[in-house]
Symmetry: C2
């Protein structure tokens, strides 16, 4: 297919707290430069350069974050931002975006991408997306990228792949046997050992008509409710009434024509501060400096530091810590407890929301 | 004696780096609120309230820090600040201040106090100073306060006390047998076990004529060189030529009429970030919050935190750390390595003095 026909939908509705104090209600993770000089959402758009231009890119985000999208994607046409009055999970985003693309450019193919993942190298990623788009245009099947697991992680959904069903050059396309929600550790170990399971990264490629057809079949309520979405005045009422469900659950787990394309290159959902060491160059002592700030480490190893340009974090004799400075707040915790940031956020929600 | 005759000399010439990043070249420790809401120098002056008023208080400080003294002691008469063109250790400060006091108010008694120590309770301290001043007016001896050691510290000089030589009510006055420079650990342990040794805290009481007489006898060069000090235009030349030596070494170790007054109440020279837990109230997990900022500790124990009012430091699952936020810098190190801050300062001196 001609790449000029390919659209992209970037899902930027996330509101996570796992990157507090850098991420806050008003500044979620996708708008932070945690994996390089640019924000994750800017990196996501840049990763598509040469394959999908911004004219053909839609960003679905919270109405509260439209200004951030405009700031970090200044060349994105304003009408390409779909502003959700409230969050309703990914099925609603996918459905709305598909309706919008079909209206603007009927009969095409599009990719759906999280705004806050790291994938490298970009060239390889584009090659796979282009091949998947070709496939999708030909077959009308629904394609999901499957990450070859590097550990028995319990934080991801898994996809079991079956036989190879396409000989499209340069990619491996497998039938999907089943989707599995986040497994326990023992089950995850079996999955990884089998070699047949992949992490579900939430990266999809499909023809617009194929996903709309699948939505019509498996989530008719969603598509029906979205009928009034194009009228901006109606949008808050329409959106509030939508069922909140992930597109995986609403459609992919039920559809028969789903395929998985295993990819083997670097992927990270950058799920917590601890993940920063996976997506950054490290110093000789394996310390990681993110956010643009300077780090001075003296007899300090394997620390993850986040601070802004012009700021300095000095570490003496500490190891395996996360040290974050953002706004008026500093966070210090062991790497292995980076997920426990949520306990601080919970306490602030009770007592002092000014730091959220 | 009438307290209206008592003067005080506050030595505020320190330039230490042990409280980096809060203390910097331009803002030494005595000008930081590290032991309460007020700066150490303001606390030092306040501690004398009712015994010595600011009219009778001289502050010796670096010419660079005159504005800081004015800021934190706004009621101190400007002419009571003795601005040193360069640092020349304590003998020069003591000698200059004594000359100045003798000129303004001949025949009196004065106390010499570091600007950056914590002593509590203030009432008890004033009681001892008043009694020592009485003694000094009567005897013409040189009095030093001796801190009863609470550990075999190797960072202080020790004073060996001999027999009790005065029955002044409410204080114990002992002959000084000898001064000992910072001992090694084994020797310090012997000192502490003996019960006869005291830490030299650099707090002195003497009649102005007694210290001038002792200087004339034991450090005549200093006194001679200071002859021109009253002419402000001559001061840089005069001061630069002075011998840089501690008053303990130049005078007290040599003089015969030195007495020690053991004190048993709380004293700390707040020698490093680790000392903050000695001079602050601790939370239920023995965390210490200094500087006015807020601390949120979740499963975190025995940490020492410094941050400004309006700032938040969140600790999750860490213990026995020093966490300091000041200006554009953050410092994280174990409490037991708080002295190693100097290694960071040394590296900044080489590479990036903007953070000093």
């Amino acid at each position: 297919m001609h790449i000029r026909d390919l659209h992209a939908v970037i899902l930027a509705g996330g509101h996570g707290t796992r990157f507090w104090p850098a991420s806050r209600r008003a500044l979620p993770k996708q708008f932070l430069p945690i994996a390089g000089r640019r924000t994750l959402i800017a990196q996501t758009a840049a990763r598509l350069r040469g394959l999908v231009d911004l004219e053909h890119t839609l960003v679905v985000t919270s109405a509260d974050h439209v200004a951030l999208v405009e700031r970090f994607l200044p060349k994105l046409p304003r009408e390409n931002i779909l502003a959700e009055p409230v969050g309703r999970n990914t099925a609603a985003c996918v459905a709305w975006a598909a309706l919008e693309i079909e209206k603007r450019s009927p009969g095409g193919v599009h990719a759906v991408l999280p705004s806050d993942h790291v994938i490298e190298p970009a060239r390889e990623f584009r090659r796979v997306l282009a091949a998947a788009a070709d496939e999708a245009a030909e077959t009308g099947a629904l394609y999901t990228l499957g990450i070859r697991p590097t550990s028995p992680a319990t934080g991801y959904g898994y996809i079991e792949g079956g036989e190879v069903v396409s000989d499209h050059p340069g990619i491996e396309v497998r039938r999907v046997i089943k989707f599995v929600e986040k497994p326990d550790r023992a089950r995850a170990e079996v999955f990884v050992a089998s070699g047949r399971f992949f992490w579900n990264a939430g990266i999809f490629v499909w023809s617009t008509r194929a996903i709309l057809s699948a939505l019509r079949e498996h989530a008719p309520d969603l598509l029906g409710s979205l009928a009034g979405i194009h009228a901006e005045s109606e949008r808050p009422r329409v959106y509030a009434a939508l069922r909140s469900v992930a597109v995986d659950v609403a459609v992919l787990e039920k559809a028969q024509n789903v395929r998985v394309i295993p990819i083997a290159f670097t992927w990270s959902d950058v799920g917590s501060w601890a993940a920063l060491s996976d997506v950054h160059a490290l110093d000789a002592d394996q310390n990681c400096a993110a956010g643009g700030g300077r780090v001075l480490a003296h007899e300090a190893q394997r620390n993850i530091v986040y601070g802004k340009r012009g700021e300095l974090t000095a570490l003496v004799g500490v190891h395996d810590l996360v040290v974050v400075r953002a706004g008026k707040a500093v966070l210090v915790c062991p790497r292995e407890r980076a997920q426990d940031v949520k306990s601080i956020v919970a306490r602030l929600e009770q007592g002092d929301p000014s730091f959220l």
